[in-house]
Symmetry: C2
Subunit: 205 residues, 2 copies
């Protein structure tokens, strides 16, 4: 093995060890038995698998699903340094972009140069939600917590339950990736309102 | 949306909800802070990302890395019904194959017919470790717990620490997928012996 190969491999292993920390980043949702919060590593696995299973429902069938998968595997890595920001946390989300940008530079900087660039570009493409791959990846990323929340049926405890109209507004972009999955999402949101997991209106306490 | 589409989607969502349970399957290794065991969903995410990062070290550069990724995303799903069998548990491993086969049929049977077949075949291909994709996927799957074990440095508590020669024997197949990663694995095993995470011999208690 040449020195160059050695040095590349050491950098890759440093990165692989560092991302271990994603297993400690807690989300607001719970894992299935309700005993503990879901973490971002589990979530990342779940969305990657969902993308494979649900690919046929993409509005755009010409997207590169392998690229979509890579995006989903790395999309939350910045949370290792920046933490998970809950979708409905308006204040947290105002500062999120800058915080995550710095985190991405720090984290992907562990990799050999051209992988650093590839991953940074993939992450920025995901965040910009402009290409077909990023749009579909974002749809899946937004659908997973809706399915998980209804399926586990553990109401949010540390935060106020969002209102239906707020959920619809935050999730509407799912339709850009898949009309079929957006129809499903609306059904899931309405069932969740029926079960008291989301509030129907601000009067609903 | 046609009825057929509806019915396909319901099956896919039933599967996606069912695999949520992988987040509850505990492994022998710990997550990074040592506070709790790693689970198979996190492990599946970690190996999928590792396959992307380490692909250049595959002995066979002509493998379909997208197929490898799909294998790694589903390779442990059978544990939802069959449980995780620790690599060094000889008794558990004798019955493992039959138990996991039944679990695969039950689990993938939730999906629409042709996805059921695709996933069953992918899983069987992974298990058989004969194709280039399965051989590389297995190398990554076997390397991840070695890296995690040394990095977290939490000695096994519920089970006896394996002996170096036993670890070498179980992990030697990594070389079939990647000579470079096998060289790395041996270094990692030796460092782990130095730190008392594996025993040097049976005399080492």
């Amino acid at each position: 093995m040449s020195q160059v190969a050695n040095s590349r491999l050491s950098k890759q292993i440093a990165f692989i060890n560092e991302v271990e920390k994603l297993k400690l980043v807690e989300r607001q949702n719970f894992a299935i038995n309700g005993a503990r919060k879901e973490n971002s590593a589990e979530h990342s696995w779940h969305v990657a698998l969902m993308a494979v299973v649900l690919f046929e429902h993409s509005n755009d069938s010409s997207i590169d699903i392998f690229k979509t998968l890579k995006m989903l595997l790395i999309h939350d890595l910045v949370e290792i340094h920046a933490g998970d920001t809950w979708l409905y946390d308006e204040q947290g989300n105002r500062m999120k972009s800058e915080r995550e940008k710095l985190a991405a530079i720090k984290l992907f900087g562990l990799l050999p140069r051209e992988q650093e660039h590839e991953f940074l570009e993939l992450w920025q493409e995901f965040e910009s939600r402009e290409t077909g791959e990023a749009i579909f990846a974002s749809s899946i990323d937004s659908l997973q917590p809706l399915l998980n929340y209804l399926h586990t049926s553990v109401p949010y405890t540390d935060v106020e339950r969002p209102i239906r109209s707020q959920v619809i507004e935050k999730k509407r972009h799912i339709s850009l990736g898949s009309e079929v999955l957006w129809n499903l999402a609306v059904e899931v949101i309405d069932k969740s309102v029926d079960q008291g997991l989301f509030r129907a209106s601000t009067d609903d306490v």
